[in-house]
């Protein structure tokens, strides 16, 4: 009988609704050794690590993304997660890149907030995620290989 160790899982999302959705995965956070990562905002979102808040309309997007990549590398080296789970948005990119390089698996859950169309991050992550979950059946047409999981709430 093998006595296997549960793999470490890194949970990452932007603040607000994305983080609310991430927190719905609490049963998983309790089941596996877990690390949580979110954005630094003026609200104290309880997580292990906080990244710079940015978005595609931010003029400093590239610079902040680069700084976040450096921060992500530090976190990655320290924690060595085997899985990355994200509910969006672009904050996941540095971790997805590191997962691809090191052979860790990426699980991406497209947000509950979009019923009929893709998010920018979802469209990118659909190509790279090892498991891509949608919360609306209406999205199956645009993400044919996605797994329909119903509402995260």
């Amino acid at each position: 009988m093998k006595n296997k160790k549960e793999p470490k899982v890194l949970f990452v999302s932007a603040s607000g609704g994305h983080f609310e959705q991430l927190l719905m995965l609490k049963p998983l956070m309790e089941k596996y050794p877990s690390i949580t990562v979110t954005e630094k905002t003026s609200i104290n979102n309880k997580a292990d690590y906080h990244m710079l808040q940015t978005g595609h309309k931010d003029k400093l997007f590239v610079i902040k993304m680069f700084l976040n990549l450096i921060k992500a590398i530090i976190i990655w080296v320290k924690e060595k997660p085997k899985f990355v789970v994200s509910t969006g948005t672009s904050i996941v990119f540095p971790f997805a890149l590191l997962a691809k390089i090191t052979g860790s698996k990426i699980i991406y859950i497209e947000t509950f907030a979009r019923v009929n169309d893709k998010t920018r991050t979802g469209a990118v992550m659909y190509k790279y995620a090892d498991l891509f979950i949608i919360q609306w059946e209406s999205l199956q047409e645009i993400y044919p290989n996605a797994v329909y999981g119903g509402s995260i709430y």
């Binding site: 995965l25 979950i133 709430y153």
Partner: protein, 160 residues
């Protein structure tokens, strides 16, 4: 008490706040109003507010409220639904520079069509909808029925 929550996005939602302000000033709303205004730039004169609320204090306001007026964000809507509140959802619109696009319409449509919330598109409808809860309250309960936790758990366990 009416609790207004406008999320954390880096966009204003001034038209809702200014409308509430004039309704209170005109004594058309006579119960206490508290608002979490986020990045709005309008300063309410006739009701108390804060920019952001810590999660547990936010939850306290949700529990205390009779009506929750929210932008079309999923977190706020679902929290209010779980607390069985009367909910008005006002989608943020790109044309009013309240978001980068109109995606909040999708989620508000879903919750409205399924009878979980009442919807307000233009702020001149707000008072009528607030008053409408007296005659036709929302009674439908929301329960999630997804299995995302199991799907992820199965996937992780299948990778060894």
């Amino acid at each position: 008490m009416i609790f207004v929550c406008l999320g954390t996005q880096i966009f204003q939602f001034n038209r809702l706040l200014s409308t509430l302000d004039s309704l209170i000033e005109g004594k058309l709303i006579d119960e206490p109003v508290y608002a979490q205004i986020g990045h709005s730039t309008y300063t309410p004169k006739n009701f108390e507010y804060s920019k952001f609320l810590e999660p547990d204090i936010f939850q306290d306001y949700i529990c205390e409220a009779r009506i929750v007026i929210t932008h079309g964000g999923t977190g706020a809507i679902v929290k209010a639904l779980k607390a069985n509140k009367q909910i008005i959802a006002v989608p943020r619109r790109e044309k009013y520079e309240e978001h980068s696009d109109d995606h909040q319409l999708q989620i508000v449509n879903f919750f409205t069509e399924n009878g979980y919330v009442k919807r307000v598109d233009e702020v001149n409808e707000l008072l009528g909808v607030i008053k409408s809860f007296e005659e036709s309250p929302i009674t439908k309960k929301f329960k999630g029925e997804g299995r995302i936790v199991e799907i992820i758990s199965d996937f992780i366990n299948s990778q060894d």
